[in-house]
Amino acid sequence: MTDDHKYVPKYFTGTPASYGLVSGPAFIYVTDELILNNTEISPSQIRDQQKQAESAFRILDLQLRKLLDLTNDETESEANEIINFQRDILKDPDLIASVNSFVRSDYQTADKAVHSAFRKYIDRLASSPSHYFKDRIVDLRDIRDRLIQIIQQKYLLQDVQEKDIVVCREVTPGDILLFSRKKVGGIISEQGGITSHAAIIAKSVGIPLMMSVKGITESVQSRDVVLIDCDNSQVILNPEEKNLSAEKDYKKSKNESASDLPDRISRPTKMACGYHIPIMANIELVEELDMFGSKLTEGIGLLRTESFIMNKTDNGSSDDDYTIYEKAIKSVDDAPLNIRLYDIGGDKLPGFTKAEPNPFLGWRGVRLLLDRKSLLISQLDLIFDAAINHQKKIQLIIPMVTNKDDVTEIKGIVHERLALKPEAVDLISVGIMVEVPAVAILADYYLEQVEFVTIGTNDLTQYTLAADRTNSLVQHYFNQVHPAVWYLINRTIEAGKRVNKPVALCGELASNPKAALILVGMGISSLSMSPAAIPEVKTLLLRYTKADAEKIAKEILKCTSEKEINIILESIN
């Protein structure tokens, strides 16, 4: 690259997934190309490199064990065999000895040593006349490359510095927490839609995150200066002086820094008229409990549990599920705790290789739980134990409900398990997610079955508007303030009022302060959102009375187009 490259600003557009304006040197975090380290280590590094390899073996084994937990039903026995075979490989004494020896005798780095150790076996299988044994080479390479990737990710992460702007192809919730601990300035991802879980986490830890930035990983080189501007949905490579001074102004105007975020979360939410609306937190990862735990004074409106199974990686958390339930209980104290049962899609299950053509219309949520009852039962048992041991009331939420029979069946299983732990009977109540139009339309009937409902606006929006929320091509069709979405929300709230049962809301919509105001006006019982969004929502609600909110809500319900809705939203300040 010539020097010119350094000084020519280049603009990219993206989809902001959290808030902020920040610049810093680029840190390229791309690990999908396996380029082995060819450097020779010094004798003093031997032990460290061996430890890196050992830890990669352990992490991969932990990931595989978690997958096994998911598939312990009879029907998946073939998938179980594959995973067990892979775990046996990770325990192979000769393989481990061989890796250690390549590090010790040949001074290879851990990733190279893993590669070298597998070579012998792969070569031997390649010379076998049998197709079956030749085909196992693929399995061996798969394990090998996953080990190498884990090791290389660690190498990479050793180099990230405070205030760096991380540039990556895609970002997982685990990555964001990791970077948050490294105190990076912001994150830019080439892929991703705005409601992905990564975005939720970025908001909750207060890291500026820009997603769907096409071409960024190819254009940026390590340590180039990049600027993320969430307000204007843009990323600037080699920003000009005026851009950087805008950043300084932004920092000055932001008188409340991220460090006092937890305190701002715990402020009570009384509206101008004295009306109290509980503002609860959506919690996805145990790290969020560690970060905000003591400040969640109004409760947890949605504890997502699927990441306990899917994201077990080396993010420093060794807590088992029971410990996480306990932590959640301690965080909220007497305030409500809503735990959503595993909401997983079939695409995440091992052995389920037949990719579904439409995963969002497929085998997920309650559908999967009913087909994998042992998974459901083990979760219920742990929650009941935690409830009993802490004498804590817990509300269970059934995900992705689309018909009454499924609710009846889940309730049946809940009652069966409660019969075995009678001390929990009075502590457990059951509700459902309202996240498909079918349930919102017939909300009256579903409310007969359960004690409360919670509206999930991300899915409700995507199913109402037929816009895949992870598909960036149709992001502009995914509009949570579409009149039809408001209509369905209002319909559900009205149904709740008729039978005097709570209707809560825990979607992204609630984190928009203006939308939150309208929801209060419609009569929502409580709102739940990413912790990072809570202060802003509270600040706006304090300025209005319930009657103001009701008036605006009435206007919203008269709207027939997004344009009309936006005019009303803009008038709120």
Binding site: E81, N84, P93, D94, L125
Partner: protein, 90 residues
């Protein structure tokens, strides 16, 4: 040290599942366990070693156990072969 010749009789040979069963069984014993074939010796407690035997149905193998419980280990391993690796599950 004990040695015994054996013929693989299960139709699929020592595929992944039988290999897992064999390694897990062998791992329960203190004795060392080796498999010899065509002048080639592998550690019977190493799944990659066992897999790379690429032993198909009809393959001739020489089993070797050596250690304090070598007799028990050999008996159990032979039994597993004779049952076509069906009862080696935990």
């Amino acid at each position: 040290m004990l040695k015994k010749n054996i013929v693989v009789t299960n139709p699929e040979g020592i595929h992944a599942r039988p290999a897992s069963a064999l390694v897990r069984l062998a791992g329960k014993f203190e004795s060392e366990f080796f498999i010899h074939t065509h002048g080639y010796k592998i550690n019977g407690k190493s799944i990659l070693g066992v897999l790379t035997l690429a032993a198909e149905c009809g393959a001739n193998l020489e089993l070797e156990t050596s250690g304090p419980d070598e007799k028990k280990a050999m008996d159990a391993i032979v039994e597993l072969f004779e049952n076509n690796f069906k009862n080696g599950e935990d």
